[in-house]
C-alpha cells in the first residue's frame, strides 16, 4: 500500500496571531511552526500501517522553503520520503489541485490529510482532492482500518459517530481519535539523523488560477471586562443572562 500524508505547516496552537503588510499577511515574526495537529494524527496512523502492514509513507506539503523543517520533522517521525510543491498557494482549491497531480502520478492508494488546518480552517482540501481523484472519501475520520483494498472508517458526526466500509483508493480527512494522543511521536536523535538523508523532492507548481482571493485579515474587537457576580447572589446572574444578555 502506498500512502501519501498531506502535511500543513501551521503556527503552534499557542501563537499570537498578528498581521503585516496592511493586514494582508500573517505575521510570522516569533511564531513557531508545527505539523498541523489533525495531520499529525494522520501521519501517526500512517506509521502504524507502515510498521504493521508494510506500507510505504510519503509526506507532501504545498509551500515555500520555510516549510522544509516541518517536512523534515515528518521524516524524522518515520516517513520514507518527502515532496514539496514550491508555491505559496492562494487557497485550498489550489492546494488540492497540486496534491491531486502528485497523488495521481504516484498512484497512491491512500491519501491522509487533516480534516482542516488550524490556520485557515478551510476544511476543503481533502474533499476537493478526493473529488479531483475520483477516490472514495471520509472526513472527520476518527478510526481507520485497511485489509487488502477494503477499508473500515469511522467519522465523527454531529452528536455521535458513523462507521462506514469503503475501498481504496481512498482519501481521508483525519483528526484526533485516529490514534491515541499517547501514540503521537516526538522525533528522537536517530530519527532526526536519518531524516537528513531521506529524499526531499521539490516540484514546481502546475496550477495558477485562484477561485478565491484573500483580501485582508481583521482581529476581533477587544473584549470588555468580565462582570463578576457573587457566588451567593446567583439571582443576579440569572437576571443578567435574561435581561442584559438576553440569552435565556
Amino acid at each position: 500500500m502506498k500512502i501519501l500524508v498531506c502535511i500543513s505547516h501551521v503556527p503552534d496552537t499557542t501563537s499570537k496571531i498578528n498581521f503585516t503588510d496592511n493586514d494582508s499577511k500573517f505575521d510570522t515574526n516569533g511564531v513557531q511552526f508545527v505539523i498541523n495537529p489533525n495531520d499529525e494524527f494522520g501521519l501517526t496512523r500512517a506509521m502504524w500501517f507502515k510498521e504493521k502492514q508494510g506500507a510505504s509513507v510519503d509526506v507532501i506539503n504545498v509551500g515555500g522553503t520555510d516549510t522544509e523543517p516541518t517536512l523534515r520533522k515528518a521524516l524524522a517521525i518515520g516517513a520514507d520520503a518527502a515532496i514539496r510543491i514550491n508555491t505559496e498557494a492562494k487557497d485550498g482549491y489550489q492546494v488540492a489541485k497540486e496534491l491531486a497531480k502528485v497523488a495521481k502520478d504516484g498512484s497512491y492508494d491512500l491519501v491522509i490529510a487533516g480534516r482542516e488546518s488550524i490556520d485557515y480552517n478551510g476544511a476543503m482540501v481533502p474533499g476537493m482532492l478526493a473529488t479531483l481523484l475520483d477516490a472514495n472519501f471520509v472526513t472527520n475520520c476518527i478510526k481507520l482500518e485497511i485489509e487488502g483494498t477494503k477499508a473500515t472508517a469511522s467519522r465523527e458526526i454531529d452528536g455521535g459517530k458513523e462507521t462506514v466500509t469503503t475501498s481504496l483508493p481512498l482519501v481521508v480527512g483525519g483528526q484526533k481519535g485516529l490514534v491515541n494522543e499517547s501514540d503521537l511521536r516526538i522525533p528522537n536523535m536517530r530519527g532526526i539523523m536519518m531524516a537528513r538523508k531521506k529524499p526531499l523532492t521539490v516540484l514546481e507548481p502546475t496550477t495558477t488560477i485562484n477561485e478565491t482571493t484573500s483580501v485582508k485579515f481583521e482581529k476581533p474587537e477587544p473584549k470588555g471586562n468580565v462582570k463578576l457576580v457573587d457566588a451567593d447572589n446567583l439571582d443576579e446572574l440569572v437576571s443578567l443572562l435574561h435581561n442584559e444578555a438576553k440569552v435565556i
Binding site: T13, F137, G160, T163, T213, K219, L241, V247
Partner: protein, 326 residues
C-alpha cells in the same frame, strides 16, 4: 440589478427525520439576504423533508424536494450530486450551505463539481457582491479573513449561529425533484448517536465542564444544568482524554468548534486552545474557584466559586426563573 428569470440563490436545507434542522432555517435566512443583494429569488434543495412550506417563513421562494428512500442516510457524494443538479436546474449563482458536519463534508465536493470557489465559516452577508466578498473566521476564531470568490458560481458555508433566523412573510412552492444518483462506494455500517440530546452544533446553549469537576461521577449536576437550559453538554480536552466524557463532547481547537449564543464553562481554566474553539460563542459565563484563571479574561460574566456549590444553586435559581416565566 435587474431580476433575471432563471437565476437563483440555491440553499441546501438539511433535515433530520423529515424535520428541518435549525441551521437549515438559518442558512435559508442568509440565502434570502444574499438574494436581496443580487436581486433574485431563493430556491431550497431538500432531501426527504416533510413540511417544506416552513421554509417560506424564512424567505425561500421555491423548494426542490427529493423524496428517495435510498437517500435516507446521509452520503456526501450522493447528496452533493443532488445539490449540483439542483444548482444547474436553477442556474444558481450562489450556493449556500451550513457548517454542520454533513454540510462541511459535501461542500468541497460541490466546489469541484461546480467549478466554484468555496468560502467556509462565513459569519456575515457579503460586504459587496461584485466582487463577491465575504468575511470568514480564520486561525480558529483568533481572526477574520475577508475573502473574494472569483468564480461565476460561489459557494458559501455559513458559520452556525452567526446570522440567526430572519422571518419573512413569504410563501414557498414545492416541486418534486428527481436527480440522477451516482454510484457510491462508501457504505454505512452503523450510526452511533444519542437521538434524545441536543448536539453541540445545533445547540443555542452549551454547558461545558473541565477537570475542575474532579471525576466523571460528578457530571450529574452538569447534565441537570444542561437539561434545565435545554443545552448541549461539552467538555475540555483533558476530560475526554481521561475518558470521563465521550470524545464527541471535546470542544476547542482540536475538538469541535462551538458558536452558541451562551457558553457556560465550569471548572475550565481557559487555555488558549480551549478558548480558540469556543470564542465564536456570543455570551460566555465562567465558574471557577481561581480568580486568576485565564477564562475570566475571555468571559462576559464570571462567578468566582466552587462548582460543587454554585452549580446546584444555579440549577434551583434557573428552575424558579423558568417556572415564573412560563
Amino acid at each position: 440589478m435587474t431580476k433575471q428569470k432563471n437565476m437563483s440563490v440555491l440553499v441546501y436545507t438539511e433535515s433530520e427525520k423529515g424535520k428541518f434542522k435549525k441551521t437549515a432555517l438559518e442558512v435559508a435566512s442568509y440565502a434570502k439576504a444574499v438574494a436581496n443583494q443580487l436581486g433574485t429569488t431563493v430556491t431550497a434543495i431538500s432531501v426527504n423533508a416533510n413540511d417544506t412550506a416552513e421554509l417560506g417563513k424564512y424567505g425561500v421562494d421555491k423548494i426542490l424536494n427529493v423524496s428517495d428512500s435510498s437517500l435516507e442516510a446521509f452520503n456526501a457524494k450522493s447528496y452533493a450530486a443532488v445539490i449540483v443538479q439542483a444548482a444547474k436546474q436553477v442556474d444558481a449563482k450562489a450556493v449556500i450551505v451550513s457548517s454542520s458536519a454533513d454540510s462541511k463534508y459535501l461542500a468541497p465536493i460541490l466546489a469541484v463539481n461546480l467549478d466554484a470557489g468555496y468560502a467556509s465559516n462565513v459569519v456575515e452577508v457579503p460586504s459587496t457582491t461584485s466582487p463577491f466578498t465575504v468575511k470568514r473566521t480564520a486561525f480558529t476564531n483568533k481572526a477574520f479573513n475577508l475573502t473574494t470568490i472569483n468564480t461565476p458560481i460561489k459557494i458559501v458555508g455559513v458559520s452556525n449561529n452567526s446570522f440567526g433566523l430572519v422571518e419573512a412573510n413569504g410563501n414557498a412552492s414545492t416541486e418534486d425533484f428527481s436527480p440522477v444518483l451516482p454510484n457510491t462506494e462508501v457504505n454505512i455500517e452503523s450510526i452511533d448517536k444519542a437521538s434524545d440530546k441536543v448536539t453541540i452544533a445545533d445547540a443555542e446553549i452549551v454547558v461545558s465542564a473541565g477537570r475542575g469537576m474532579k471525576g466523571p461521577e460528578n457530571w450529574g449536576m452538569i447534565e441537570e444544568l444542561a437539561e434545565v437550559l435545554g443545552a448541549a453538554t461539552a467538555c475540555s480536552k483533558p476530560v475526554s482524554d481521561l475518558g470521563w466524557r465521550p470524545h464527541a463532547e471535546h470542544v476547542g481547537q482540536t475538538g469541535k468548534p462551538v458558536a452558541s449564543n451562551l457558553y457556560i464553562a465550569i471548572g475550565i481554566s481557559g487555555a488558549i486552545q480551549h478558548l480558540a474553539g469556543i470564542n465564536a460563542s456570543k455570551v460566555k459565563v465562567v465558574v471557577n474557584t481561581d480568580p486568576e484563571a485565564p477564562f475570566f479574561k475571555a468571559a462576559d460574566y464570571g462567578v468566582v466559586g466552587d462548582a460543587f456549590e454554585v452549580v446546584p444553586q444555579l440549577i434551583e435559581k434557573l428552575k424558579a426563573f423558568k417556572a415564573s416565566n412560563t
